[in-house]
Symmetry: C2
Subunit: 451 residues, 2 copies
């Protein structure tokens, strides 16, 4: 009897968490991981902090090397190996070894697709000039950090006002680069409502970042092949360096070509056990679709925590377990300079088209008692259903200590709490941590009167 | 028709919150507040931060003055007026004006007892020497701060290793005072389990505080009427200043003398509307008993948040409303130097005598990814019922960013969550805030396997 084999396509959070989980459950399984890049199991979310210099070496971001996976867990990690086609009917993957271009077929008993997401590519004149970077990989990060150290660029333009754009703005400001953000949307961070986005803009402005929102980049000017400016509909912004941070999309190409079902979000459709529509093929992480827990509808998010959790569930089920991944609230948190932004559940802009009566409450308060020197402004926005009082979502923008309070809203949402119940929470209080009335309780109180 | 009148006995959180709430509901009500001290509506929890110098002036701790209550809310606040007896049958309070010793009767239609708690007095030789302070009032705080500024004491001994003792240790270390804590219990903070208390001791030691635990103070030595040392069962500790922080007890004397029911905790018994056993007499804040939400049993806690919430409920009900205060989880948080300690629900030492099978899980992890320079150790302990998996309590000890995560456990407890549900929480993640696997999720995962 030959050994059963699991082939994992991908090498980061979902892939290697699943492989590790499968190894824990089944010592006898043959496990192969195919990663087209140079690195596996790296902390992609740490990239802006490495670029900014808060993290000294890129090696700190590497959680485990291929050699360590081999030695400690007997997992055969093949870097520089790209899966170029799937043949579910034959239970084979076609692989290309990038070093020599050799192609071969790898048979599997179980296959996990954990191929992640890719940056949205901009098709604009001049976009291939040097000095223009996507921030998708450790290699990208090393290139940008090297330029910052060596060339000390004076001006940078970031295209895209989402999470990565804001984190990169903070990172570049640490190198005293003059930073501008160009964003097609009229606000930063479309996963908060416009009124909260206004507060985020204020925070970025305090960090010295110039904002050009509601303006699309239309071209990149260059001098001797090197970028020199970003052209928008309104103006030309000189730039020694450009970061493209216009979002990511699930890598669904391999699955699509193999006839595997894709969901309405463009990601690979999976059930709550992370099975795809093809037999013995599973998907996890940024390439897979999930559900929004409040609506129960298909949802896609690029998230290291979702990927890690899905990796565990997939690894368990592949080895005969019965684990489930129910979905996500779309929880997110980001720091930009001195402000913290977090959100979970549904926001007003997502609720607009729905047949659901909702009310919102926004409270401007403080993180700590006013007599504490470290007291900072903190704005909380809560949304609940009119009638039932069921909580639907929350957003926070504020100073140090504000952001992580979103986890109270996360827990309340997953428990199906009403605003009445939220208002009664026995939240922790002492002056270094909070005011007597936590801003969340004040927001719940205000909202209660409206639902 | 004469005006209806509410008499409030007390002048801090519960008292003035209730008075304010009553005023909002009933513009016509006559409201009198009797406060025996000099200050009303002050932030008692801020005292250690004022003593430590983080808060410059004691006036910052005064939320509102008697004059402001009069002018803005037409509340007649009488400082220096002590209620010395209650006559519920006649609906009168006997009051003594401390300035001239005059006594008078004050009739009421509704009476709120919000008389707080008092320091446990030590009956030990030498305890009346000068240089020995309780930390119960703004006057105490001003006296200690004045001595720190003027005399620059070299050595202080704090008797009591609870919250206030620890906060005072931090405060005195800020003045470079050599600080020792003497505690009768074998651990600091008896509202965490001994294993977590060990971690707290480690944190205090790092702050340079000497700990003498499991040793009772037995006497105070003095030189010319001024304290010079604290004598314990084991040793004599020289001291230029002594802080007594051996806990507080509810002020139930007035109520007891008037025949009003006292609960098993020694505090005034109230129902969920905060009615006492006497007609038209209510109680709120540190003098009132409440329920432990996990057990449903009578419980007493000295807490500014509970007092404020009860004040609101009492004020609403006194004016014809129908509000309830369900109880508390005993949530608490404290900072001591660089460590944060928090707890909620039931701990092992409280569960020991009960007919309830429980399991515990303790996880040592980090507040942020290891590659972040500000990553700190964080230990989480969770407790759940075996069989049902119902969460029973949680405790956290760790560096900056650890403590407030207790609010996730608070919310989960109030929602009646199981550890399975806790493990599925979509908690916020990004490197400046948390590791990919939040320590709470790791603890829930470990506990799940045991329940």
């Amino acid at each position: 009897m030959s050994t059963e084999r699991l082939v994992v396509v991908g090498g980061d959070a979902a892939a290697m968490t699943a492989a590790s989980q499968a190894r824990r459950a089944r010592g006898d399984l043959e496990i192969i991981a195919l990663e087209k890049g140079r690195y596996v199991s790296y902390a992609a979310c740490g990239i802006p902090y490495y670029v900014g210099g808060l993290v000294e070496s890129h090696e700190s971001l590497l959680v485990r090397t291929p050699e360590q996976f081999k030695q400690k867990q007997n997992i055969d990690v093949r870097i520089g190996h790209e899966a170029i086609a799937l043949r579910p009917a034959e239970a084979k993957v076609v692989v290309r070894a990038l070093a020599d271009g050799r192609e071969y077929e790898e048979p599997y008993d179980q296959l996990l697709l954990a191929v992640g997401a890719s940056s949205v590519r901009l098709e604009l004149p001049g976009v291939d000039a040097s000095g223009i970077y996507y921030m998708a990989s450790i290699d990208d990060a090393r290139a940008v950090r090297a330029v910052l150290e060596r060339d000390r660029p004076k001006r940078a333009v970031i295209v895209g006002g989402g999470f990565v754009g804001m984190e990169m703005a903070e990172a570049l400001r640490r190198w005293d680069v003059d930073v501008s953000i160009v964003g097609r949307a009229p606000q930063l961070m479309r996963n908060v409502d416009p009124d909260m986005g206004e507060l985020v803009s204020g925070g970025l402005a305090k960090l010295g970042v110039h904002l050009y929102l509601g303006e699309a980049a239309t071209a990149f000017e260059q001098t001797s092949g090197r970028v020199s400016a970003v052209v928008t509909q309104e103006r030309t912004l000189p730039a020694d360096m450009v970061i493209l941070a216009t979002g990511v999309r699930p890598n669904a190409g391999l699955a699509t070509a193999a006839g595997i079902d894709i969901g309405p979000t463009g990601a690979i459709r999976v059930d709550d056990h992370l099975r795809t529509s093809a037999e013995r093929v599973w998907a996890a992480g940024d390439c897979a679709e999930t559900l929004q827990l409040v609506t129960g509808e298909p949802y896609w998010i690029s998230s290291a925590t979702v990927a890690s959790k899905q990796g565990r569930v997939a690894g368990a089920n592949i080895t005969g377990g019965d684990a489930t991944f129910a979905g996500t609230l779309g929880t997110a948190i980001v720091r930009a300079g001195s402000i913290e932004i977090s959100r979970t559940g549904l926001q007003e802009t997502e609720l607009a088209g729905r047949n659901l009566r909702f009310a919102t409450e926004k409270v401007d308060f403080i993180t700590k008692p006013g007599y504490c020197p470290a007291s900072e402004p903190m704005t909380v926005k809560l949304i609940a259903e009119v009638g039932s009082g069921r909580l639907l979502g929350g957003q926070i923008v504020g100073g140090a200590g504000a952001g992580m309070r979103i986890n109270v809203v996360v827990t309340a949402l997953q428990a199906g709490m009403t605003v009445d119940e939220l208002e009664e929470l026995d939240l922790a209080y002492s002056p270094p941590f909070s005011a007597v009335w936590d801003p969340l309780l004040l927001a719940a109180r205000g909202l209660r009167a409206k639902v």
